[in-house]
């Protein structure tokens, strides 16, 4: 009986579901079809792909480490605090999620630029400016990706039973020790999921990077920037590099899938 009921509804839902899948897959398949496979290496050379991919990997991995070191404590404090300001604080953390990245880039310039709110005094008083180097790229990537990390980890930590905290406290553990030996180990899957999300977001970052860090091959030109620039000289080079990025993403997500995405 049940199956007969289910069947028409299921096929009714199948159509939009398949369309959604097609919508997702078609551009990726098109990319694979259009790649000029025999000349792949030549095109990757044109796009300065090696330098761009290396820079992307270096900056995004640094970003993930920064997210973990700074974001984990923030997530813990958010998950264990209460009060009228908390929802506002949480909303503040969410802002870069919805902010257009280029606006983030402008904001970063206003803060850290040579005449920025913080960058200006640093430059005037100490003669120190944030150089146009991968440091700027990491700042931009961290700005856009740390919210993903914090939200994911905070969710995991909030769903962690508070009785563990209490138990640790009665056993004489300080809050710092509870964080280190209870919260972090028990929420490792959440931390890994957050790190993956943040990494993926950082890898795709474009707007804030080109605005705040500019585009210099080997120094600030990450893979997405290289794709954009290649598209203007040689679309085949852009396609080749896009394909490499697609493969990098798929491979990493596939490696992580079984472990953390359930």
């Amino acid at each position: 009986m049940r199956q007969r009921h289910d069947h028409p509804a299921r096929s009714l839902l199948a159509l939009p579901a398949v369309l959604a899948l097609l919508l997702l897959m078609l551009p990726l398949i098109a990319l694979l079809i259009r790649v000029d496979w025999p000349h792949l290496w030549t095109h990757l050379g044109t796009a300065d792909a090696g330098a761009a991919v290396r820079l992307s990997l270096r900056t995004t991995l640094t970003t993930v480490v920064l997210c973990a070191v700074l974001g984990t404590p923030l997530a813990w404090l958010l998950s264990r605090s209460s009060g009228p300001l908390l929802p506002w604080l949480r909303a503040l953390v969410t802002v870069p999620l919805v902010l257009p990245p280029v606006v983030g880039g402008v904001a970063l310039l206003m803060a850290w630029g040579r005449e920025g709110v913080v960058g200006g005094p640093l430059s005037d008083w100490f003669g120190w400016t944030i150089p146009y180097s991968w440091v700027r790229v990491v700042l931009a990537e961290t700005f856009v990706s740390i919210p993903f990390y914090v939200l994911a980890v905070e969710g995991a930590m909030r769903s962690l039973d508070r009785r563990y905290d209490d138990l640790a406290a009665t056993l004489g553990a300080s809050p710092l020790r509870t964080f280190r030996t209870v919260a972090v180990p028990l929420t490792l899957p959440g931390i890994a999921a957050g790190a993956t999300l943040a990494w993926a977001r950082a890898l795709g970052e474009f707007g804030a990077t080109i605005t705040f860090a500019g585009s210099f091959p080997g120094r600030t030109q990450t893979a997405p920037l290289a794709v954009y620039q290649a598209l203007e000289i040689d679309p085949d080079a852009a396609t080749a590099l896009s394909m490499v990025m697609l493969i990098v993403c798929v491979v990493v997500l596939a490696l992580l899938r079984g472990r953390w995405w359930r």
């Binding site: 210099f216 091959p217 600030t220």
Partner: protein, 253 residues
């Protein structure tokens, strides 16, 4: 769940704000039934803004829509058959990359020339005096990307002067390049004379010696024969149109 709620709240607020501020932006002025779509190089921003105003003042039924971008971006758009009636580029080489079928075989007309200049922040913190001073490693220079016309021109200027600057970024178009200097993010940029003029007091311009400078010639392509397109081309080629260009610092071919 509350994170999700705040997320939704932020989203709603952003959408609302965007919706409110966007109101009326795209409203077509009543009676303007003929539209001419112009794709123009970023360096033409101010001049074509003036010409758009002239055309719309003289023709109550014509609406001019201009989109400014790097010439290489415009070429990509046109070759992918974006809607355009008039295409104006920053140099002839960019025009050679237009696919003949995409521009319906249209031939270019040269309508203006441009030259390069060094731009620094208004207070010239790097004390740039001439092209040769860019050679000092302490001056952060921004250039246009080598595949856009201003980047090509800057490269030949630097080659002529045998100067190797410390480049911190290659920007997508001339306006993006200039903005790095306006924001004080770089000590120098090589841009068009016309961009320095348009930036007014916010930047300081330093002339490049004639024997080191290059002249670029700007081509315009007409892809349509309708009235609105003709109205724009007539305005561009009229003596008043020439004056708009020369007032903005362009030369005549």
């Amino acid at each position: 769940m509350s994170a999700l709620r705040t997320g939704t709240a932020v989203l709603t607020a952003t959408t609302l704000a965007a919706g409110l501020s966007g109101c009326g932006d795209d409203d077509k002025p009543a009676g303007r039934t003929k539209v001419v779509t112009v794709l123009a190089a970023a360096s033409l921003t101010e001049a074509f803004g003036d010409i758009k105003k002239k055309v719309e003042a003289e023709h109550s039924d014509v609406e001019v829509r201009v989109s400014f971008a790097a010439s290489s971006t415009i070429v990509q758009q046109v070759n992918n058959h974006v809607d355009a009636d008039i295409v104006a580029l920053a140099d002839e080489k960019a025009g050679k990359t237009l696919k003949p079928d995409a521009i319906k075989g249209a031939k270019p007309t040269l309508f203006a020339t441009n030259q390069l200049m060094i731009a620094t922040p208004a207070d010239n913190p790097g004390k740039v005096a001439d092209l040769a001073s860019l050679q000092s490693g302490s001056i952060d220079t921004v250039l246009c990307a080598p595949q856009v016309p201003c980047g090509r021109a800057a490269k030949s200027v630097l080659d002529k002067g045998h100067v190797k600057p410390h480049v911190v970024s290659y920007e997508q178009d001339v306006k993006a390049t200039l903005s790095k200097v306006r924001l004080g993010e770089a000590d120098a940029a090589i841009v068009y004379v016309t961009d320095v003029a348009a930036a007014g007091k916010s930047v300081h311009g330093i002339t490049i010696k004639p024997d080191q400078n290059v002249t670029t010639r700007l081509p315009v392509y007409s892809l349509n024969n309708d009235e609105a397109t003709k109205a724009f081309l007539d305005a561009l080629n009229s003596s008043a149109g020439r004056k708009v260009l020369t007032d903005r610092g362009f030369g005549t071919p």
